[in-house]
Symmetry: D3
Subunit: 339 residues, 6 copies
Amino acid sequence: MKVVTFGEIMMRLSPEGHKRIQQADRFDVHYGGAEANVAAFLAQMGVKAYFVTKVPDNPVGEAVIWHLRRFGVKTDWVVKGEGRLGIYFLEVGASQRSSKVVYDRGGSCISRSKPEDFVWEEILDGVDHFHFSGITPALGGDLPGIVERALRVAKEKGVRVSCDLNYRAKLWSSEEAQRVMKPYMEMVDILIANEEDIEKVLGKKIEGLDVRSGKIDRGRYVRAVKELSEEYGFEAIGITLRESRSASINGWSALLWEGGEVYFSKEYEVHVVDRVGAGDAFAGGLIYGFLLGKEGQEKLEFAVAASCLKHSIVGDFAVLTKEEVEKLAAGTTSARVER
Amino acid sequence: MKVVTFGEIMMRLSPEGHKRIQQADRFDVHYGGAEANVAAFLAQMGVKAYFVTKVPDNPVGEAVIWHLRRFGVKTDWVVKGEGRLGIYFLEVGASQRSSKVVYDRGGSCISRSKPEDFVWEEILDGVDHFHFSGITPALGGDLPGIVERALRVAKEKGVRVSCDLNYRAKLWSSEEAQRVMKPYMEMVDILIANEEDIEKVLGKKIEGLDVRSGKIDRGRYVRAVKELSEEYGFEAIGITLRESRSASINGWSALLWEGGEVYFSKEYEVHVVDRVGAGDAFAGGLIYGFLLGKEGQEKLEFAVAASCLKHSIVGDFAVLTKEEVEKLAAGTTSARVER
Amino acid sequence: MKVVTFGEIMMRLSPEGHKRIQQADRFDVHYGGAEANVAAFLAQMGVKAYFVTKVPDNPVGEAVIWHLRRFGVKTDWVVKGEGRLGIYFLEVGASQRSSKVVYDRGGSCISRSKPEDFVWEEILDGVDHFHFSGITPALGGDLPGIVERALRVAKEKGVRVSCDLNYRAKLWSSEEAQRVMKPYMEMVDILIANEEDIEKVLGKKIEGLDVRSGKIDRGRYVRAVKELSEEYGFEAIGITLRESRSASINGWSALLWEGGEVYFSKEYEVHVVDRVGAGDAFAGGLIYGFLLGKEGQEKLEFAVAASCLKHSIVGDFAVLTKEEVEKLAAGTTSARVER
Amino acid sequence: MKVVTFGEIMMRLSPEGHKRIQQADRFDVHYGGAEANVAAFLAQMGVKAYFVTKVPDNPVGEAVIWHLRRFGVKTDWVVKGEGRLGIYFLEVGASQRSSKVVYDRGGSCISRSKPEDFVWEEILDGVDHFHFSGITPALGGDLPGIVERALRVAKEKGVRVSCDLNYRAKLWSSEEAQRVMKPYMEMVDILIANEEDIEKVLGKKIEGLDVRSGKIDRGRYVRAVKELSEEYGFEAIGITLRESRSASINGWSALLWEGGEVYFSKEYEVHVVDRVGAGDAFAGGLIYGFLLGKEGQEKLEFAVAASCLKHSIVGDFAVLTKEEVEKLAAGTTSARVER
Amino acid sequence: MKVVTFGEIMMRLSPEGHKRIQQADRFDVHYGGAEANVAAFLAQMGVKAYFVTKVPDNPVGEAVIWHLRRFGVKTDWVVKGEGRLGIYFLEVGASQRSSKVVYDRGGSCISRSKPEDFVWEEILDGVDHFHFSGITPALGGDLPGIVERALRVAKEKGVRVSCDLNYRAKLWSSEEAQRVMKPYMEMVDILIANEEDIEKVLGKKIEGLDVRSGKIDRGRYVRAVKELSEEYGFEAIGITLRESRSASINGWSALLWEGGEVYFSKEYEVHVVDRVGAGDAFAGGLIYGFLLGKEGQEKLEFAVAASCLKHSIVGDFAVLTKEEVEKLAAGTTSARVER
Amino acid sequence: MKVVTFGEIMMRLSPEGHKRIQQADRFDVHYGGAEANVAAFLAQMGVKAYFVTKVPDNPVGEAVIWHLRRFGVKTDWVVKGEGRLGIYFLEVGASQRSSKVVYDRGGSCISRSKPEDFVWEEILDGVDHFHFSGITPALGGDLPGIVERALRVAKEKGVRVSCDLNYRAKLWSSEEAQRVMKPYMEMVDILIANEEDIEKVLGKKIEGLDVRSGKIDRGRYVRAVKELSEEYGFEAIGITLRESRSASINGWSALLWEGGEVYFSKEYEVHVVDRVGAGDAFAGGLIYGFLLGKEGQEKLEFAVAASCLKHSIVGDFAVLTKEEVEKLAAGTTSARVER
């Protein structure tokens, strides 16, 4: 099983514990990004996962490659060149104080990449699955075209394609996002999104989730995903449902539409250690389910269990074994010490 | 807006994480004290906040000044001299184990300060607000007289005065506290306290709060604050209501009496990161409300939101922006990641 | 009061915070083991507690002795010799992710110890209490015989004996455990166990606890412990009841059978900092109660309070004062800051 | 005494100890830049030192201001705006391995600053000394003009001006540097440089220093500085002489030309803890000597002692007292413990 | 270029800074071993370097693979199985106190490996160079035969073979070493050793090096290596010459015999950060020279420069670029900051 | 062998690495004091070493006891009571910057101790050696009398007494020191001092050491120690000779007068990791030599080797084995890795 993901990876700098940036005399260093996180999750599952990106040709770029390799991600198609590595600063919130991200991603290597940096015919050769998120084209420059080219080649080669809409208001407006992303949709097989993404990127408002109360109007959801699927012809749609009761405690579940049916997952009450990358673990879990040809409910429970567990893992990348995810998906939540 | 606070600042030494003092091979270092914490909070809000104290004339005293400056507190009136800096050791509890403070504050510079160290006519010139707590006179020596002198000058200059009773049984008895503090009260405009303080320092027992159940007999409270206000002529009274369910989870709310009315705030369920200084963030929030002339309920909600958020901040000083406090006061508690 | 405990002590290596082993660039170092933990708890209570073991004759073995001494455990009977120190790696879980222990304890000094290493006539001279757990004989080699010899000498000298069954499936099968352990039982005065231990080591299945719901069928428990007591003639039986709701939150309580009566303790809702050694703190608390001749309910509440508080202590050893345990046992759970 | 310095300040990220960037799981965080370092040194000496710059309007920019304030630097003229903060990564070398700097400074706030950001008439009002380095105009954009404007205003107001040539090949070519910098020279009173700077920025090659052997052909130096001084009319010229025997051991000395005479300082054998900012401590020391009107040799020895001591200080900013610098300048090098 | 190395890799645990094991509350974690270190160095140089070993099938074994991958070492032939990972504790000395290693390597996976674990026909297919050290057979069990089999296959396939004698008195006696190792020598092309190795493993005493004075009787060395070469028919012999003046300062150089000539390298005065693995960097450097077909003196200077620089690198693996090594080998030792 | 030492022990707080106090966000914690350091060294050598002091009856005092026990020091006679623990802050210098100690020792428990706290008849029963330093009486209060009483009891019981003069100008004047200390001298058998101590405490100026050049006029020293010995009847006199070339490099040696002869030790060139307590390791080494009845030169070399090695140990206490000290004393200084 071979999967390729494509996008930006950034250096993440976060003060120790719950300190704020101004208080910090040292930063913990991680590297991550939506598509890299998906590749890292799949590598943990034993999939041959390639992450495609461009990094600076200096020790910082080299550090990215070291980090990816450490987690087992294949870096054969990582290009080096001019520019810098995007950085994001993360303050880890607690209780009523939200976690806060400060982006310093302008001028990155990847945002300046050129069509010739990525030879998709080679990269996607023999590949089973291609994944990207809406962040990649949102970085601008030649990227919208590069993504489009990747999608075309994927389709030609019969590679299944998933897309996490991942709307980022700081990168582009809803109008721009719709203009660029909508045309991709016919080439996307599996759509991953949350409500806001669907509204901002596909222009479709789903109502029916009262996040505060945790109640979902299932009927409305079923109608919405059915309409989306009819409009774009998706094979499946996965939607995560986060209830942020506080920065310390979250509710977490998801739904999956596939083959005309909507599945709703179990709901988890999560004590948050590090929630960055949880959505990507969901995406990775879903892709893994499709690679293995699991059936609907099983796929969904696996993906939700993976992303639930990600909240307990430090860093952007989900360090988990298949057995751990399966055990939780199968319903073992007591969390006794494993000896 | 110019505010002056006056009191002791100590070095705080705490073992990493939840370790106990005997287990510690290293200590995290912070500096704090009731009045310094108020000044630090106000400095975050953009107020010109001066903290007045006396520190030793050595690198440890210099470190205090560096710390205050770092957080934007004005140190123009910090005096240097003979003596030592008070220290407190803090073990951070968890679950059923309480946090524990071991004081080593005897013989401090500030407790040995002399009337001539502080020229209140200069210090309070052009100042809008003066704040102190019951700890300052409790340190003894010439401090009761120095505080009295400050209050007199404040009154002459029309400076509004707030006092947090902050009763500390290790520093003085209830009798001593009453003897010294009661005469100050006619010069205090805004009283800040909790039930125990009011009983020990003002000799008035408020019944009607069942801390364990979180139920308040509002009628009794209204009567009690009304009587206090009549007796001492306070402009306002703020009372914090903490429910310590465990060292990890607290309930947190407050009430404000002002202009003949009692306001009750929202109640927060707090996951505690560092609760030292939360009461001071409340005092700071209240003072800020008075500086801006906000109305009652708004003042109270701002102060409670500030002190609620302080529980998530490492160190004695509340590192928060006005926007963050206002957002929570306005009711946004979902704590999603801010990107 | 003199107590002797006998068993293995291991080095514990755990990644910082919630990191996994592969992510770790540094490990926190502790030392612990079931019987060492009991001795350390008793030393905190002011008991003269000796831990008997064998460690390698090198700086690592010396470090064990330093660690024991630091916590006040007497090391007069620690033998040094050939072999290595057992190690265990601990990943601290959170939320739905369990804590995970990886053992590397093969070939340890203690597992290779010889009868002549421990002169029980001397070691147990003037001793009030001897404690061991099922792990000690499970380590194999000459240990089953060495334990038996210790028990015989203890009985001759009138030393009270407690045994924590502590079944470890990685060390031996239920059959082996029964073959070795059952004959010891007539020499054991106080049995400490959980349900699984009783089934695997004594071959007796207790039903009646629905761990998930936290409901106990008290009648069944009373019958089961009565039967056990009749069969083996125990003076007392202590059983801990853990409800692992998640790796972050546990329910915790226990029951004690003594003198024909079953006592049920209060139940605690625990926020877990470090749960390793909590069962040993329970054992230590119970032994302490017997040393002091406390009555049934009081003994139990003390032991449960001690083990509840252990969950908030970093490392295997329970760093607690008698006053702290008594305060919680007496019902003070509000966890306000102690100043 | 009031001094203003103007330039870029960057975040500095360095792996712990001697680790390389790829090995780092955490970075130590400092902030520094040539002109900020000079201001920080002067602030330690008790001078009212203002650092003028532009930082991003986010927590990272705020952190810069916190850092400057902590060290006592005045931040009244720090402007906030669009853009990012420049970053540099520092690997601390040892023995035969050089320290290595990786710059990520493109697109910084300060490089995008506009003339209207800095009202020099106000900033330089009542100021005794203005300092900048060649890095500031090298950042490009409107900066060459902004510097020129600052110099003109300084001259009008009778402010003494010092310039550290600080040639950076990564920022501009020798030709560009000469084109921009030479015209400034008539407005510069005190020139600070090393040989390479003089060659690259002023186009004048000084030969006569054999860095490897530590031998200086003093006659050639005297001639060179005399010529420079005649050409540009400098009041004084300070030149540092570093002999990098290894990354761990450096020789360090300097010369000063003033009033027609050349002074040579003592030579120090330095064990390097952190050499970044040593040249800036020299500049700061020299400026301080001019502020105090010290005579030539004394000025030089103070500046060299300050910069020698900087090598033992962690971070870019020299945390030193006047007494410490004077003691070393006066010849006390035994480094016994000060009790 | 493809290189294979074969041997044991251990977890290395060292107290922070210069602490001793008993003082340590945390350990820095690295992984290393003679042959793994060679592979890691070659991977830094851009060579396709495979490290062959056996590790436990648990998270600790997984951590080894993560570590190797991070540094770019290929892990395709790493086998997982029963057993433990060897550990060594390292106390980093200073001044007159030696660094100290405490081994805990008994019972390791690799020492229990079986011939069928390693299919040399596949592993060595298309490989240019095979490297092992005397430690591998010294671990006992089936390893002497496994190594012999590897050598035979290498010879059949025309793979060049290097061997670092690496005598370890704790693993075997000189007699055992000679019995096992001497027969290998006819299959070894490049011998790497120091004097003691040659005496203990090959039974040949070289006199003529006065380590304390740093004086070498070159004539004797030339004779000794000539005789060795004649006896065993080596293509080349590399011998490192360390002068341990103190734990902080070492002299470092080497000699190479090749094609009938002896080359002596430059001598370096080294400030030691971490000397573990320096000999392996020398071996790696030499192998690299042979892969590239460099001539004698150049090969030697590259290898000595690499190993000299290794002393400044934290951990067993030499994190260096080819450019850095070449620069030092070419004579640039000034160690100025690289910007 | 039983030894008792008596004095103050303080908490030592030092910023990480070479940071200054104002820069510190965390402190490394150690505990030490002249006499505690001697006891700790002797405990490492296997001597039954008791340290007598008074500490506060709180977790900080408990931490002292834990620390002493960890290193094997007997704490049976440590008294607990009112007061605080003295603290000292240590900035670790480097190169030309001296290490700096800031004392905060006023009001300590020990300085307020009463004669009844120490029952010397019991404490010194069966003891071979009693050691104290001039710091103990210098702390004032009842201590001069308490020390005198200890000396009288020691003499009655035939306990050998050593005294390290340890003059501290911050604690008393030369006149006070002479008034208190001179009368003790007739009860002192072994005097330990440096030149300054002898001048300030005994009023005798020794000239003849040119510390800068490292040259000693041996004739003058012989005369001076002979006179001292005649005047006070010492059995032996040990004098340490430190040459502080920089904070990083020191020369270190000593002389011993005994039985009418003066012995001079080898001289060591020391790379300083932590020099606090080196003089105490010398005292401990000398006492150890007297306990074992070694002859003069051997005693001296052992003591100097011990104190030389102490410079490489982190903390006040010398963590060394007898074998390590003997190996260096015997002349092995090459510092190769011990495997």
